[in-house]
Symmetry: C2
Subunit: 610 residues, 2 copies
């Protein structure tokens, strides 16, 4: 296969996607260079009417659902507004992979007509636009997951979750961009390019569900579905200041996805979860309950039986635990501080928070990484070689073909996993044997870092190893005070910790210029001519990215990069107790920000500029 | 290692077990030869007092629990009675592996004292003796599972389920004999010998939890816990005319067992379940609810969250489905007839039963068998070779060392499994889309066969592949009418079907003589000198067994072997809906036999001779 094959496919794919966006929804010209925060560009354009700006800016899905039910809004109005805003999000952040705007608007009209005619809605998601990660098969559309080798091969049937969402009344209007292999932590690939973080284009949008994160942060979506096997829902949620829940793997239907791996290999290693990202904590319940109410175990045999009400609950006077560090990478000061603040707020509200010291936590990280490698990456390289597609630079330094694990090695990993699961059960009791209702810990040991700088996934992958439901809550923006912190004098715990400290000591900030005239230059350095893998294809550009720190680029010290990013905390509940997790998140959120509905406006004003 | 090593271990193990049975509980002399039905020998001995005979013969666990709660009986009286009867069962059927009679009686006394002092019981199983398959680790006792190579190595801690049963008040007083490797379908091994079927020593007691089955059929236990990965609870339940439930694999704690396999390999293949055998259908609820009420997910991380009330339910007017055949082995006429009778009875009672034709059912059998072989049996042979122990003859014809499956093969099996699980979801809707509340099908395609003649496990292993909760209900004894059936003229479906027909056409009955003077000759043929692998060790005898049909022994036609065995049906519910299964079984049982409590005496009189 010619090495040009993947470029030609990417070119065709770019043009196909572009052609599905109505001409009058295009920003012309695109701002060049991009501002640091691209969100305000939505307001400057005239693509959305004032009503459409209000629909997309001022509501969560629960509120939109209420307005559609009360006939104050039609699904068509809501869907059209989000399609337009998603189109702008795509142009500014490269967040979409598949565009279904016109069929979605058609469906919204049909739903409106049906509601008018019958007086009945389809279900709790009636008329609500929902965006989906590219992995989910939708009949007639690609699930290329950013591989040229998987593009131009439309799915023959819907993923189970797609059918459920449609049954419950949702309007599906786009699929979103991902990281190459779904294992990189920046959503960057050679088919669609790199997803930018709309609130701060210097920092990563996260991955692998980074397109979802950026789209929702742009408020081009109110509710998105991603997948998470190392943190792929929670990391982009943190990066984009969103609420998220990664349930246990058997909770939300996962079948019918393209995950770019040897079919069946997922059953031998860690189980990924489908999860959600939202702009309010209550929307997490809206989605989880809507899915549970649809008897998902009748659609996907992997889903555990259990209605929403049967998914656990917190006690009347819940007891919280806090796990401050994983023993591998000590959280940087801003991360510790926001955890402290959260714990303090919970205590002030009259609830007890006990310190949980879990020595086994540190074993999770390397075990997860070993599981990620069992296939020896051969399936990935086979896909790439089909079209001559290279790895993205971040992966190029990390991914090699290896022999797959054999039965003895696989069994050995599972022995370790089982022992760890057993050991970690102790998390759920304090020293006096009292039940811990929910645990709080960091999402990552650092704030939202620059692109391609995410340092390990131990704080998120641990809860894939353990299969705990885990959610993220945005707490507040990084403040100027956070930037003055000093690291402790103690020695680093090891390589991961040392690399993490670099993110605090010397931030490798280089002026990034994003050229967006129908294409994305992902990296242009103005101060030195180190190799940049930007490659022109017609009038679009495919974007490699060379990490300056890896090729000896000067590292000016600029912690200001963290300003205009959100600090979040992670909340955990025991396996298959998603309702317990949700109730804990709701309570913590109320303590931090007031009740969801009362303070929605306040939170939204932090989440978006509109 | 000397080839004599395993014999010496077996000899020591035999003596150790024997020494834990009080002298005055021994039958002396043992009847030689044994009668066909050994159950009545309990009555002829004077080991049990009339009260003890009544305690062990006339109650299920629910009734005993009520009597202990109301102080009409003490746990000590109940425990002593069952210990005595278990001792006799052991002498007549070789059903035990570990004996804990004296510590159990001590515990029962302590429980009685506690109840007297506090007025409170420990839990729903307070004072009830429960027997456990040898696989479950109990601190200080072997989990040899019939391998000399695993004997004389006491467990360091209890299995999670053992702790839960103790917490709920149970008295654990013995562990029970199994099949070599746990994969053979007769409970026969070189460490303990062969378990006999107490109601009919010509036929198999089933396996691998055959010791449980025989012990309960002797009423040496009222409630037993086994494990099932191909049918190992349901098959001995059928063979011994018992009620059983094999839950989904994530329902009852499984960790802390010795299963004689490469540690961790179970996570790569099919998941076994812990399950139960009982003398009444209501006892199934007693145990499942007691375990669920103990929050087992806090003890075993593999257990799915879900209180008993959250484990599903049948509808108000349940709709049943019947699956008459698996497409591999057509049930023999007595099996079909008892299924017909059950369906007719349900219909007569006013419930609809729809015919379910599941073409995918036939794929389950070979897929299960492929999963069983992924380790290439190397771990088994390693254990055997440690002490020079041979395979039992039934396995010797079937088990070889092979290369273990590689990652591609394992993944491929899981692709097939996932596709099958999806396809089989269709079982739960009839043609008109109505929900099927429960399914009925055969337990096996034949009645309880002669020893070492069980023909395949497709009807049970299918629901391990699918992980459905599955139960067995004894319906009635084989009647003389059943013996006059003719097979259809049609051709056999294949090898399995052909072999199955042999069980009806020509029964290979050979007079079996069991010599039981402190040992078990497993096979002595009076009519020809074909090689019998009985081997003397001191005054005990280790028992190989040569299958006469395999070495050209004449096959006199005698279907009468099936008389005095029970015909059963299997009932199924969707994954993780154990309460739904129980409710369906209870309803079917009521239709067939009247309500559990009302007709207990009637059922018991069929189940035992006492």
């Amino acid at each position: 296969m010619s090495s040009q094959t993947y470029r030609a496919i990417a070119h065709r794919k770019f043009n196909a996607l572009q052609s599905l966006i109505p001409k009058n929804w295009l920003l012309d010209p695109l701002p060049d260079p991009l501002p640091l925060d691209v969100r305000s560009l939505v307001l400057k354009s005239t693509v959305l009417t004032p009503d459409e700006l209000s629909i997309t800016s001022s509501h969560d899905a629960t509120s939109l659902s209420q307005l559609i039910h009360s006939r104050a809004l039609t699904s068509e109005a809501v869907t059209t507004a989000f399609c337009k805003r998603a189109a702008i999000a795509q142009q500014l952040t490269n967040c979409l992979s598949e565009v279904l705007f016109l069929p979605a608007i058609e469906r919204s009209r049909a739903l409106d007509a049906e509601y008018k005619r019958t007086g009945k809605t389809r279900g709790p998601l009636h008329g609500i636009p929902i965006s989906l990660k590219d992995t989910f098969n939708m009949k007639g559309f690609d699930s290329s997951i950013g591989f040229a080798g998987l593009a131009e091969n439309p799915a023959m049937e819907n993923a189970a979750l797609v059918d459920i969402l449609l049954d419950q009344g949702a309007v599906l209007y786009c699929k979103t961009n991902v990281s190459q292999t779904l294992m990189a932590l920046d959503s960057h690939n050679h088919l669609f390019g790199r997803v930018l973080n709309p609130r701060n284009t210097r920092v990563t949008a996260g991955g692998s569900s980074g397109g979802e994160g950026a789209l929702i942060a742009m408020r081009g979506s109110v509710l998105g579905i991603g997948t998470d096997i190392g943190g792929s829902v929670r990391i982009p949620a943190m990066c984009n200041g969103l609420y998220s829940i990664k349930p246990s793997s058997q909770r939300i239907p996962f079948i019918g996805q393209e995950i770019g791996q040897l079919p069946g290999i997922d059953k031998l290693g860690l189980q990924a979860s489908a999860g959600l990202m939202a702009t309010s904590v209550r929307d997490c319940e809206l989605v989880l309950k809507a899915i549970a109410d649809a008897n998902p175990w009748e659609k996907d045999p992997n889903v555990a039986f259990g209605p929403w009400e049967g998914q656990g609950e917190i006690g009347r006077k819940p007891l919280f635990g806090v796990m401050r560090a994983d023993g591998i990478t000590t959280p940087l000061p801003p991360v510790s501080r926001v955890l402290d603040e959260t714990v303090e707020a919970i205590r002030k509200a009259g609830f007890e928070v006990v310190e949980i010291n879990a020595p086994a936590f540190k074993k999770c990280h390397s075990l997860a990484n070993k599981f990620f490698g069992i296939g020896g990456n051969n399936y990935t390289f086979d896909i790439l070689e089909r079209t001559g597609e290279p790895l993205i630079p971040w992966l190029d330094a990390r991914l090699r073909r290896k022999g797959p694990a054999d039965l003895m090695q696989l069994s050995g990993l599972h022995v370790k996993k089982s022992a760890l699961e057993k050991e970690m059960l102790e998390l759920w009791r304090d020293k006096n044997g009292r039940k811990i209702d929910a645990l709080i810990c960091p999402v990552a040991p650092h704030p939202v870092p620059e692109i391609d700088k995410w340092n390990g996934v131990g704080y998120t992958s641990a809860f894939v190893v353990l299969d705990y439901p885990a959610g993220t809550l945005p707490v507040r923006d990084v403040s100027n005070d956070d930037l003055n912190d000093k690291l402790p004098d103690s020695e680093a715990l090891g390589g991961w910790d040392s690399k993490n400290r670099d993110l605090c000591e010397l931030t490798t900030f280089i002026p990034l210029v994003f050229c967006l005239s129908y294409h994305y230059h992902m990296f242009q350095c103005s101060c030195c001519p180190f190799p940049c893998s930007v490659e022109a294809v017609g009038n679009s550009v495919l974007h490699g990215y060379a990490n300056p720190s890896e090729i000896g680029h000067p590292n000016p010290n600029d912690r200001n990069v963290y300003l205009n990013t959100k600090l979040s905390v992670q909340v955990l509940a025991p396996r298959l107790q998603e309702r317990r997790l949700y109730q804990a998140m709701k309570l913590i959120h109320k303590i931090l920000h007031g009740a969801d509905s009362e303070t929605r406006a306040k939170i939204l004003s932090q989440s978006t500029v509109a």
